[in-house]
Symmetry: D2
Subunit: 407 residues, 4 copies
């Protein structure tokens, strides 16, 4: 038997941190002894716990401590500097590398807790210019110092919100059986207030936005200033251009539902138009593309990232076909984001979700409960709404009009 | 080898009748010879086919003919009277009973084609007062004459609509990727025009209508005169009453999304209120129930059938707890219906679907594609819409307001 | 401001009881002060908390206390007798009635904690022969004493299992991405050991069991003695009889997948056979029905309850068409059950789930994640498995054969 | 009004070709006149139709003819050479380009029908060395001759199979309510016979194969020789390596279901191991990777394509991160394939589906009906099975063992 001590401070009971700590110890077959416990006497007081942890051997203990750390525990005796090891090769990690959570993380360097830059989950921490940075393993350079083990690391999982707001009501419960209009109103309010304060909203739409007839609503959101960056794929861009040029989506008239030329000819024509113009921006500037989501992005200086996938037709020249380059562009566009709207897309939403710290608010709207569950699992401020984007988005615009006094 | 001849007339190619006839013969290992075939030269002309069918033996041939008949074939040599056999016991059929489709069906009696009353699928035909009636087997009385075999029976499967309307565009394709607003507009137009002509609309709502916050929208539909009958279950009635009395649905405030007293206490209180009053009508008349779907049904003389199920709490006194009695009440309420709206319910929608002839227009709205597929399979004029009832229904009301010039 | 005190004892942190207590107080806008808190120093020691609760007024405080009670709190000052009020009418409750959870519940009567009989959720408690009974409101007789308010009531929510077993691993996580074979093995082991100890297993199958070709597997489970009661509906019984008599399910050959006579003729014939025989038992005894799930139930004295629904064809004479009578029969069959297997059915599973105390182990297998989520939400020992019953059930039988040494 | 004539030959009625032709004319508001119609008198005789088509103007007529052509019509007067136009730029098409179906297509060049190479849908046809090739638009070189308009093109949509085999039974109907074991047996037989004849099977697995515990079954399929190429993504490769090295999948023990170190540490360690080794092949050759799907691919010379996506962690060095390069590699691996098994993956299955001619048999197994519907829509010999891959794949192996006489 071998032991270590941890400290916990905060709203550790109602924010589920202490229960998770005990749960993790059970799951990993560890033992514990509570050395000290002071519970916050009222709603606003912090609680504090000091706990001794026992493992079978050092490796077992380390595994337990690693888990507890992710949950916010600070390994007491380890309020020492984090351990660092050089990467053996470009893109290769030392064996005992520390892998990150998506929570704010501090690393002790020269006796000081320093916050990690660009926190993302499942990354590693390297020290660059004396500061810890969360980066993908492929970006680690040979010889760079990588954080290993679990000493000198402090994770701050967000606590349960004490405010009565949509993110606290919804956080645990995803259900198709929520009042859609009330939810829409709350989200509109959140967006309205965020933009008043100059907050940044990123939208991640999937092709269903266009098929379901919500392109006009998303275009209006952009014009109204509610979209600072738009991260998407070739399909969305092409369907949007097809809709703008021909009024169809994969050949179906989005007003009358009549089918023109079954199949994908309009789709390929839309791609050809953009390829001929050289880019979406060119097509807008030449007056070829005169409306739609892509058009509004260009006109309103919305940061636009179009990432490639193996199912792409074409693609149009704006697509970043190397997925690692695309990830980097997405990462850049996501910096300092306050709110992300994920609209009826799985691949892009999961990719974006992987890049966000747990402190960013995310709202995921999809008709498929499985997608919503997957996406809201990891975020602290994630709301999952099971709805039809074709009816939801126009309503959201109506609510925003009302808040802005437009209507 | 044994043979028989069939005749087919109508738009039998583009309405898929002839292809299905050939498909069925292949599937059942029969053979055929085309004796005569005249194809309609233009869009509006009928085609006509005269085909000889071969089976291994009489039983095999009968099986094939039985299938072809359901598809609209008339067995030529059998333009003789239908065969009739007395039922051996109450609710028990003669062995070779004819089982119905949901298509209009004619029976030859004394050399005359007479239309079957109350056409429903998977029923039997008995002769009452000289006329064929489609009834459930449990209603057959000992000694009553039941149609057996497949002579003297003519089924008229509806042909593909030549009109450009939502029921012809959508009939084959169910998809979550349809433009919701355009669809809503088309359905509103259909309802508007139907009501102008005095048509009858039946609504079959599930509990999600209330949970998703669409009770106000359905109440408005009733007030506007778009609901002639409402078929539902105990849960919808109780959730609606809870919403009207307390503003909650299973304890959740439908405006703020706050939870009062988790669990079902409000639900049970709502039941108790109605039980105490004696019925929904009493609760309305005593001024206890002042709004909501149930209230509007009473106030607007909408025919209301509340059928029981084994998952019911309570139930309230208005529930018909015997499911066979409930079926009979539903059947009665469905007479002469022009359009059925099935709103986010599986059990009740399927039950209603089973009772409808294929000539009734049905629109099924659900967030779960599996439900929609199941329900639209059997009807000729069935539209399946995969959407969120909480966003869809309020929009439908908006569209109807616009058509009525209210807004 | 008005106050009350509560006590909590047990593994209240890692079993999430204390966090839920604090969460509920926040949600309901209450305040609290921790008077005393002793945390269990090790895994096996109990923790104890003594907390003062504040509400705005008596009604607000009562609402909060009502919630805390459901979570296991004992209202300290109220270790007095429960309050009782007579029912004003048959099937009508006094206004302030106490509504039950599905957790074991004790009522203080004459200074003594007495356990409630037949614990079910969303019921009321009446005193019969000096003992508390959980019953549906419709069964309350005029003048019977009903528990009201929240004094003198103690709820014991089950604690997190400390055993490493499938019910503790799975309880929180439902996912289609679990290793199916490992899960099947664990469930087989659970069933094997339960039966060795003489435990009672109830199976609740839906029609998909037969459509998916698992009737033989379920029949074998019955023969092997793993089914003590079977609760189902008309559809399962009829599909099973159709399969036994004709080898088809709704006309499709379950071996070759060929369709005989599309539609439902075999289905109606199966119903007619049982109606003619008078009952399933008669059909078995007369040698008409020689195999299948229904046959094995009769032969192996498995308690069989067939409940009616509004979508039933026929029905066969064994069906209880009154849903309230059906509920009573189901309740009776569920007494002293240890384990329930819910197989690909929504309606019947939810109905059964509503009747079970939280201490009964339940395993719900369905291909639709939404069904599984709904069903496993409420039970403490509920496992949800998203799988294909047609592949799962035969494998379960294989695993049981192995455990029994048959193979 | 302007007119043209088309010819149709084959089993055009029961293979639904003629009905679709009439349907398309209606949908596109065209008119027609049947000039000649000879129906096949028996099952095996061809039918023949000669039809005159009317459009409002040349553009309208062309649109109609374009559609009819995709359905197999040969535009009679146009049994002239196909029209060709040079591409204006690299990767840019002449305006009136012909876009392909996935059916075998012949182009008339110098009066001769020549079959198009590498048929894929939504591509264009260029003439290279006198032969038509179906290629993606981005591969068209400036000045290359591209087929435009719709003259001189003949599409051969596959006819309904006259064989009684699983692909004909299942082709239209996707349902979770099919007998899984019977289906598995049929598919095993298909694979067994295909391999006896030296056929080529390509497997496209998704991550759920490993999570659901079916990695051993897929490994066995490879060892048995039933996999000639495996097309997948980084996630599958990494999960498989994690499973081989640690027995876990995202940290969960796939045998005991216990969680080691929540989150993704094992996942990242698996990536690091492969990055360190340089490639999967290196890891196998150095004895680091000793089992699993990847291992078996290397050992059994299965062609392996690992395509990148924006949600990839790592990735491992074997991943093709440029999606267009990845498409090309997939295309190459798919040449001359007889059968494709798509196992619980959306992105990769759709990408592969897009590249297959309609004559390749495809079997898509997924637990999500929406995925299966999407994937089986486009293929002629596509079977959709809604099942749990974790139970299905082991059973498939059992059935193959039986056919091979191994068991």
């Amino acid at each position: 038997m071998i032991e270590a001590e941890i400290e916990l401070t905060g709203h550790i009971i109602d924010s589920m941190i202490l229960p998770k700590i005990f749960g993790a110890i059970y799951d990993l077959n560890g033992e514990f002894e509570v050395l000290e416990f002071r519970i916050g006497q009222t709603k606003n007081e912090y609680s504090h716990a000091h706990i001794r942890i026992f493992g079978k051997d050092q490796q077992h203990l380390n595994m337990i401590l690693g888990e507890l750390q992710k949950l916010g525990a600070v390994v007491t005796e380890k309020a020492v500097d984090a351990e660092l090891m050089p990467a053996p090769e470009d893109g290769v990690l030392p064996d005992n590398f520390y892998s990150t959570t998506n929570h704010p993380t501090f690393v002790m360097i020269n006796g000081e807790w320093i916050k990690t830059e660009n926190q993302e989950m499942d990354k590693v921490i390297v020290i660059r210019e004396g500061k810890p940075h969360s980066i993908p393993m492929r970006k680690v350079k040979k010889g760079e110092l990588v954080v290993v083990g679990n000493k000198g690391i402090k994770v701050i999982p967000p606590e349960r919100s004490r405010k009565k707001e949509v993110f606290s009501f919804m956080s645990s419960a995803i259900s198709s059986e929520k009042p859609t209009l009330s939810l829409t109103r709350m989200i509109a309010k959140e967006m309205f207030e965020l933009r008043k304060k100059g907050g940044k909203i990123v939208v991640v739409p999937g092709p269903a936005v266009i098929h379901a007839g919500a392109a006009a609503a998303l275009s209006e959101l952009i014009r109204m200033g509610y979209v600072q960056a738009l991260l998407t794929g070739n399909a969305v861009a092409v369907h949007d251009v097809e809709n703008s040029l021909f009024g169809t989506s994969l050949g179906m008239d989005l007003k009358t539902l009549e089918n023109y030329e079954g199949g994908h000819r309009h789709h390929l024509m839309a791609i050809n138009v953009i390829r001929k113009a050289g880019s979406i921006r060119n097509a807008v500037e030449k007056g070829i593309l005169k409306s739609g989501i892509m058009y509004e992005c260009i006109k309103n200086n919305v940061e636009l990232v179009i990432a490639g996938s193996i199912r792409d037709d074409g693609p149009i020249p704006d697509v970043i076909t190397d997925v690692m380059e695309a990830q980097d562009a997405m990462r850049k566009a996501l910096r300092k984001t306050d709110l992300v709207l994920m609209l009826a897309t799985t691949l892009h939403s999961i990719a974006v979700g992987n890049m966000l710290p747990s402190t960013v608010k995310t709202i995921c709207i999809d008709i498929n409960p499985a997608v919503v569950t997957k996406l809201t699992d990891r975020g602290t401020y994630a709301i999952g709404i099971i709805s039809d984007i074709g009816a939801f988005l126009p309503r959201l615009v109506q609510e925003l009009w009302q808040l802005e006094g437009t209507v």
